[in-house]
Symmetry: C2
């Protein structure tokens, strides 16, 4: 389905359709909104994208996306250097930061191990993580990876790589989500919650 | 839920979340994709938006969004001047152009009559449409408005306004959509299709 109209509009629709969550149809709707709200949305958005393109980069220490390198988290003297939290993606780092429950360092893998897709240990910056874990300050590495097959496989591999670093290696607890009803949980989660049951 | 991280990223997420079809969560995902694909997506997108912001405007004749005024459709000498197709929105005009079944002129209302929202005849450019319909060349006005209550109310109002213009006034046929199964149609559509039944 080709898009009629001038090339400036067509080109923007094509680019917007490449964003996750947007297809050709919703990209058309979004661009139409931009055309209608030129001063209040299109111009600021073009500027914000240009600003970001000029300033953003991935932190050479932890892999976080930021406008400084090292990133604000790595450079923050108030954050503890004792623990490194290993996450799959920058989005996971943001989720942890939103929850404001962890005040240590991060290591963003940028993916999970996937031999079929050609993603190996070097692509995930694992040698860099091992080197960081060997630093004297670091006492614990928390593997905050997804509870998927790929995530858990990667967690096992990372744990094995870190075995000689002399640090405590932990993973997130599995169980019933806060607010969750048993009736809606899958069998695997119920099994994990029951296996890891605690004394009251 | 506030967004941690540098202001350049936060600002882009806030702006992206204003687009139709994107919320805070999907805007974060989209921006993360942009950060990761800076050269191939973020930079071209910023440029495409800046280009569009600089060039696009609404056609003073028909209301279409284009980089020229009058728009390419109004200025096209090959298109018939005999019929004006009245649509609610630029998206509807694009839909008709994609179908490539109409080679006349358009009039984009930019909305439907809505006294509660303060949308009156002047906001829809109706005086302009009436003036165009009085032109000698125009023989037919096709009301291609949505089959909703608001759309049909607007269609009736527009038809009344055009009564003295001496043009044929038509609306789109209602009935079973091509490829549609009766089992999945609502009662209103079945009634409309039955009422407007034709001899084989």
């Amino acid at each position: 389905m080709s898009q009629p109209g001038p090339s400036a509009i067509t080109r923007l629709i094509e680019l917007m359709a490449k964003l996750p969550g947007l297809g050709p149809r919703s990209a058309r709707r979004a661009v139409l909104t931009l055309v209608k709200r030129r001063e209040r949305l299109l111009v600021p958005l073009a500027q914000a994208m240009a600003d970001l393109a000029e300033s953003v980069s991935l932190c050479s220490v932890c892999g976080n996306a930021d406008v400084t390198d090292p990133c604000a988290i790595c450079a923050d003297p108030k954050r503890s250097k004792k623990a490194i939290c290993v996450v799959q993606d920058v989005a996971d780092l943001w989720a942890l930061e939103r929850a404001a429950v962890f005040a240590g360092q991060y290591h963003v893998l940028g993916g999970v191990l996937s031999p079929l897709d050609g993603v190996g240990p070097d692509d995930l910056g694992l040698p860099r993580l091992v080197a960081r874990a060997h630093s004297e300050e670091v006492q614990e590495v928390i593997l905050a990876l997804g509870a998927t097959v790929d995530g858990q496989t990667t967690a096992h591999y990372v744990a094995a790589e870190l075995a000689e670093a002399g640090v405590r290696i932990t993973t997130l607890a599995q169980g019933v989500p806060v607010g969750g009803e048993l009736d809606f949980l899958d069998d695997g989660t119920i099994l994990a919650a029951l296996t890891a049951r605690k004394d009251v």
